[in-house]
Amino acid sequence: MTASTAPPSAPLLAIRGLSKAFLGVQALDGVDFTLRHGEIHALLGENGAGKSTLIKTLTGVYQRDGGTVALEGREIAPRGVEEAQRLHIGTVYQEVNLLPNLSVAENLFLGRQPMRWGLVDRGAMRRRARAVLQPYGLSIDVTAPLGRFSVATQQIIAIARAVDMSAKVLILDEPTASLDAQEVAVLFKVMRTLRSRGIGIVFVTHFLDQVYEVCDSITVLRNGRLVGERRTAELPRLDLVAMMLGRELEAAAHRIDLGPAEVDSRPPLASFKGFGKARSVEPFDLDIRPGEVVALAGLLGSGRTETVRLVFGMDRADRGEATVDGRTIRLKGPRDAVRLGFGFCPEDRKKEGIVGELSVRENIILALQARQGWLKPIPRRRQEEIADRFIRLLDIRTPDAERPIQLLSGGNQQKALLARWLATEPRLLILDEPTRGIDVGAHAEIIRLIERLCADGMALLVVSSELEEIVAYSRRVVVLRDRRHVAELRGGEVSVERIVAAIASETPHAIASETPATGSGAEVRQ
């Protein structure tokens, strides 16, 4: 399946048939990966593809269950980060794993400080630190604490450390996630320099533009299996996205007719103009009308979650303005959003949503009580009424309302979380991956619920990776790529193929210039 020419000697790194399971879940299943000398190789995949498991197996954090890993033809099995470093495998993570309280020089030489007469030779350490950083174009005060420098500078220092410890294989795990364009350019220059020195770089990223800018080869994983390895130059974007999402592009999209578009003429409930935040998501325009389901589609890390965090005030936008009912509003935090009648079901319900020890009733009542203020407790009788109503309405499977919510199944927890926000009768409900991690039956129920809610006049903003689902319930889809809103599909335009094409598109689409394919998409933005 490899399109590349066979290397004259053994490749730098050859992984064959790598397998790793956790508690019976196969995280990696017979994966092959080949890294050559002087190559930048993108490792791509969506959630649960197995990228981080592959990296952690390489760096000795995990031990593999099966398969072989050979470095320059020699079989290796590192049992720890230190051993991987000794084998010349260096890793730089998105969260810089250096020490902000130590000086730059100490960070570069921790554990291998130059010594003289049994003591650390601080002068020599400073000199060598400057020498190590010089090829990267960094002339900084190496005695200053690392934490005083930008994340980008810290990344480069981390790379310099890894390379100076004689790395042959350099793993960069989402190094660009918190960098701006200029910083990314500097990082890429560094990467190209290292490539010319024969170092092999494994580059994990969610930004397709960056893949095409700097990578020689691409390996795509999905659900712990190898989808394929290609030369970047020989792989069109559309094919890459299809590989990542695992879709047959010609597959027929089934969609439910949601009726005529009369609601579109109504003034928007909430409107965002040039709304954005540096290092989070590019400024975007977004209108949400009552009774409408707006879906946000895109790959992992494309800016979907960042968008809804801005809309709900969890992150503060640093540009643009928001209006609700035509009045300009300020979103300083989720409290403001709740007061405006917004609700938010987060993606990670274990961490951000449910309170496991509390009962189903208490979980359902939480947001309503918070809005009323804790000084005015909702009477117990009323609490029970509300809880029972939603347990019936959403068909939450629990013996009674007093059962601790952690004892319920994932789907029922998700429904209880939904009930929490529905109890506040929100005007705009934000759902981040509402169907993740729940069984197929509950899946369908949640989708039916979404349709019913929107029929009742509630506006919904949904983030989902399930393109078929989006197509089923949404008449307006905003497509994101590389932290930017790149397209807006409306009415009849909404189809899996169009979404995939927009994700793979190379230049950002001007949203308003999208040609409407059918009448329902012909409304003019106001």
Binding site: V81, E82, Q85, N97, L98, L99, P100, N101, L102, E106, N107, L110, G111, Q113, L119, V120, R122, D141, T143, A144, P145, G147, R148, F149, S150, V151, A152, A278
Partner: protein
């Protein structure tokens, strides 16, 4: 360089407080500004200073050691029992005491690392155990009358200009100097700061976490043992209730000295100055003669509070700058 100024600011402020405090005292009491007062300040606080150095290392590494006061008490009892009841010569008794105290600390470090237990709990347990062991040996205050004690107490380094440095004062100064070298010119020192900065990162960067954790608590125990020897010289007795609450005094000195309780930032010299500030307040109250000695505690409490607020303020200011590059 403003960077260096920023880093040393807590240390500079602490030192300024000491100097200003000393000048104020000297202005009020004509006899205050004398070498005799300085010498006594160093001697009286020697055991506290030695203990506080060990505490500084532990706190720098992100931990805490609540057992040091109890270890001092236990050491004095152990020495008294060995010398007076066992008929030992003080020198082997000193060696046994140091080994016992250091081993005790290292054992706590081992428990903290192996079972991933909070240092607060482990060393709290250590505090009770050490206190209890002292009581098991004897509940009485046992005077130590060995002639070597008298000789050691008479030993001093006298300077022509009038300063007299007693053996405890010399020991403390030596410990502080050695600690500065250990903190900034050895790999062990760098590893301590690394551990206190971020344990996980330190581990990923190859810092030997187990070895460093055991060593730092062992060092703290060893220095508490040395402080116990100094304390027994100073008081000429062994008593299991000796040095009660000293762990809190040392933590206070460390914090006033500019070391952050969360670890990773701070200087040994700052701790030394923190000890001297506490001693200065104590000396002032002795000079005054009318104030209750509890005013020492009140003054130190207020000072501690002010310093913590100062550190918090500095952190906020730093967080506002560093990290993210300057943006509009």
């Amino acid at each position: 360089m403003t960077g260096a100024l920023q880093r040393f600011l807590p240390l500079i402020v602490t030192t300024a407080v000491l100097v200003v405090g000393f000048l104020l005292c000297a202005a009020q009491f004509p006899n205050f500004a004398s070498w005799r007062v300085v010498g006594n300040l160093l001697t009286d606080n020697a055991f506290l200073g030695i203990t506080a150095v060990g505490m500084t290392f532990v706190i720098l590494s992100g931990g805490i050691d609540l057992s040091v006061g109890a270890v001092i008490g236990f050491t004095t009892v152990l020495l008294a029992v060995l010398i007076e009841q066992g008929g030992w010569h003080p020198v082997p008794a000193f060696a046994v005491a140091l080994i016992a105290a250091g081993g005790f600390g290292a054992a706590m470090g081992g428990v903290i690392h192996v079972f991933q237990m909070p240092p607060f709990i482990v060393t709290l347990a250590g505090m009770f155990i050490a206190r209890g062991l002292g009581f098991v040996l004897t509940t009485d205050s046992v005077p130590i009358n060995h002639p070597l004690y008298g000789e050691l107490n008479d030993m001093a380094l006298r300077f022509d200009f009038g300063l007299k440095l007693s053996l405890p004062a010399l020991l403390m100064l030596g410990v502080v100097l050695a600690a500065v070298v250990l903190a900034h010119w050895t790999r062990f020192g760098a590893n301590l700061y690394a551990l206190g900065g971020n344990r996980q990162s330190a581990e990923l960067m190859g810092v030997p976490v187990a070895r460093t954790t055991v060593a730092v608590y062992g060092l703290s125990g060893l220095l508490a043992g040395l402080a116990g020897i100094v304390f027994s010289l100073y008081t000429g007795a062994g008593y299991s209730l000796a040095a009660t609450g000293v762990e809190l005094d040392t933590i206070t000195a460390v914090v006033i000295g500019g070391t952050q309780l969360t670890g990773g930032y701070g200087y040994v010299v700052g701790t030394f100055v923190g000890v001297l500030i506490q001693g200065l307040i104590q000396t002032y109250i002795t000079f005054d003669g009318t104030l209750s000695s509890w005013w020492t505690k009140i003054a130190i409490g207020v000072l501690l509070f002010v310093f913590i607020l100062l550190q918090k303020g500095l952190l906020v200011v730093w967080a506002g700058r560093g990290g993210e590059p300057a943006e509009a």
